[in-house]
Structures are given as C-alpha cells and as structure tokens.
Symmetry: C2
C-alpha cells in the first residue's frame, strides 16, 4: 500500500489563504479556528512556509496587514499573489491593460501604463463586475487584431461570509466565449506561478505539500507541479469535491490544524 | 455549379428582428433603411413571413408595438420570441424559475409560479446582470440536486446604438462554468424553436430562407434545420463573420432590402 501523503518527507509547505487561513467577509472576515496556531507550529518546526493565493481584491500590503490583524505570523515576502506576476508580464510584453479589477486592487498597477490599452487584465472585481464594465472589456477585446485577456486565476467561486460567491473564472469564461478567445492565467493553477513560490523556498516540489480549499486550482494545480495537494473541509469546500471527476486529492483533512498535526506527528 | 441561394424555390421567409429590421437603442432604436419596404414587398408578393427573434428584454406585445411604430407591418401572431416557449416548458415540467431577466420582460412570466424556485431562467438582462443577481442565480443552482438552467438564446453579443454589447450567452457561459452544468437553450439556434415558426407557415424547411445578422445562431441554426441561411451586413455583422470557422452562409447580402430584391427578382 502506498504511504499516506504525510508519511513521505515534507520539507516545505504552501498554503492557500482564503478558505484555509480565514474566511473573507465584510469587516475583514474571521480566522478559521486553529489556523493561526497551525502556521506558528509549522514555523517553530523549522518548515519553510509560503502563501500562494489568487486573492486579487486588495494589495499585498493590505492583505498581509489584515492577516496579521487576525493573528497570523507572516511578512509580505512570504506571500505570492497574482498581481506582481502580472505586472512583470505586462512590462516584458509592452502591454497596456484595461483593468477589470476591484478598486482596492488598482494600486497594484500604479506603475503600469494604462493609456491607449491593448489588453485586458481581470481579477475578482466582485460588485464591480457590472454590465457596463464587462462591456468596456468586451469592446476593447473585439477591437484588437490579436486580443489578449489575462485573468488572475480561473476560480469558479469562493467563500465569503457564510456563502459561496462567483469568482473571476466565471466572468473570464463570459469574455472568452463572447470574443472567441482563451485567457492567459496568472495565478493558480498556472505551473509558473506555483514554481515561483517553490523556488523562493528552494525546496523540490516532491518534498512540498500544498493545502487548499479549491480542488481544481489548489489540489490539482499543485499535483501537476509534482507536489502533494491536500484538500481542507473549510472555506468553499463541498462534499462533492471529494469525488471530483478529474482530481483525486493526495489527502483530505478537516482543516489546516489537522493537516499540520499529521505533518508534524510524522517527522 | 450549384444554383445561388435565391435561384432555388422560396416559399417562405423567416426574419430575425434586431439587426435586420432595426437596430435597438435608447428611445426605441431606429429602422434599418429599406427594411420596412422589404417586409411590405414580401407580403405583397404573397410570401409567408415570420419573425424569429431571441429578443428577451420586453414582452411580445411591446416589441410588436415598437416595430409597428417604426412602420413595420406585423401582428403578434407573426412573431416568435423565446418567452412563450419557455412558459410552456416550465408548465410541462412543473418548474418554478428564479428569473434572471430584464424587468421589462417579467410580464412574460406573469402566470408562472416563481415561489420556492427549482430552476433558473435567464434572458438578456443587460444592466440587470449585476454581481448580486448573478450570485442569486448561482447560489440557487448549486443548491439544487439536479440544477436546471434555461437560457433564452446563446448569443454572444448584439447591436445596440452604434456598438456591440454582451448578450445572454456570455452570462450563460459564466453560470455553466461556475456550476459545472450545461444550459438548455430555448430560442435560436434550437431546432424546435425554428420548427415552431416553420410549422406555423406550413412550408417545408428546404423552401424557406432565414435572414439574420448572427452567423452562428441565425445562419448556422437555420441551415441545421434544412433552410438556407442568409447573412446580412447590418446589425452586429463583422467582416470576419464571412470567414467563420464552422458556418458558411448560403448567401451574404448588404441588408434585408438586397435579400428581398434577389428573392423577388428570381420568382
């Protein structure tokens, strides 16, 4: 019989943020019970930890400040969100985006030229996914000879307060269909996005466990990079995720605390 | 060489409305030059004419009144929009919809039970495709054991004022993706929808020409039912439509007036 996911060597841990550390919501959301302590225990054990998130409704600084406020031990250098990776890509390719993003996320793009746009960058705009804003993105895309649509993640939905709400992926599909194009994904499950966090830890992927609440993007995405992908029963988790047609999690745990228990008890 | 589309017998004509008869817009839009006269000429020649539309932002009565105001000769019995077909389907299957539709279209469903909904019906809600309304539909669908999503058409975009704007199909794709489901289409290009109009004319499909500005739903859809599908260069038409990867129009004309010229000159 194959060794359980926690019985093999673990030299580094990647953690999703929303739905694993905390649930988002008005007024900053709330930490998931046991998660603050779980992160501290990983650090005390000397295990490198990085936070790999598709969060796009704020800046990295604001996100880290919010999580520190919930009691989490982390610095900005530990956190890998899509926006900085998108900015690098835009500069490399001389792209000037129309930003279909949440107003709180606009400072991420402060040093990017957005005049005379020649591509669309979209994130989780939430309430700002209005018909008007979607049409602005649509009209720009169909006016371009070679339309470029960059989406920060392709998630279907996420947990907010006590319910699941639509994520950027749904709106990405709307624009893909209307314009007959395929978006470029920056964020999970893009391998280059996971690899940036792995390289920062200097730990090979087969020694790393990724813990997330998104069976496709966290679990399947990390597995495609050679990691073990562990699903938590918190956040947006639904029981049907354990019988997903294409992704079989390396493990399923009730929450991050249980994942950390298993990792540390087997070292 | 094969005979041109207008050289074969034409015993009936199906016409799309938006983008063929008129362009929609604030204050009722405006008739496309030559289209009022073109419809009158078909009628004077004794050719049966039906209007096959995916218009879902009003009632049939309001739509016909608007078109009569533009000078078109038509009655409500000539017009086939999706809403009445949806109402029949809902009653047959004992479905109670959450209506993701334009407020002006709600009277179409006046005699439908919408309490304790067990499906979603969507049309072109335009400005009412808010994040809030989309989430209401999403949350209902993922709460259902067997989610049913009925979409009135699957158009990508349509002409409004002087620009193309997103149609119901884009938002349908968003919900399909988020919920891992496939919508049922009522309206073009559904064969049963075209067939209802054909049966009303009592003309076999191979003697009928459909004229529309949507290369996939009007042209490809009618061809799949055995009709000739003719594309007009009005409405949402874009030059790339003439080189569509999967649909080859039976003919392409500048506008409805030219299509009618060709039909009547070859009788």
């Amino acid at each position: 019989m194959m060794a359980a996911w926690y019985e093999q060597t673990v030299d580094g841990v990647l953690l999703d943020i929303t739905g694993v550390l905390y649930n988002s919501g008005h007024g900053g959301g709330h930490a998931i019970p046991g998660s603050v302590d779980a992160v501290n225990r990983l650090r005390r054990a000397g295990l490198p930890v990085r936070f790999c998130t598709n969060e796009t409704t704020s800046t990295k600084a604001a996100l880290v400040k919010k999580l520190q406020g919930h009691g989490f031990t982390m610095t900005e250098t530990d956190v890998f969100p899509p926006a900085p990776a998108v900015c690098s890509l835009l500069k490399q390719r001389h792209l000037r985006p129309f930003l279909l993003v949440h107003p709180n996320a606009r400072p991420n793009f402060a040093d990017i030229d957005t005049s005379n746009p020649n591509c669309v960058v979209m994130g989780d705009a939430a309430d700002h996914f209005t018909y008007e804003n979607m049409n602005k993105a649509f009209k720009l895309l169909i006016s371009l000879g070679e339309p470029v649509l960059i989406s920060m993640g392709r998630g279907k939905y996420y947990r907010e307060e006590d319910e699941n709400v639509l994520d950027v992926g749904a709106y990405m599909k709307a624009l893909e269909y209307a314009c007959d194009i395929e978006a470029e994904i920056v964020g999970k499950p893009s391998p280059s996005f996971f690899n940036a966090a792995l390289e920062d830890m200097s730990v090979p992927s087969d020694k790393v466990v990724m813990v997330g609440d998104d069976v496709v993007n966290d679990v399947g995405g990390s597995q495609a990079c050679g990691m073990r992908g562990v699903l938590v029963r918190t956040g947006k988790y639904r029981p049907s995720d354990e019988h997903h047609p294409t992704v079989t999690p390396s493990g399923v745990v009730d929450n991050l605390a249980e994942a950390v228990d298993l990792i540390l008890n087997h070292r």
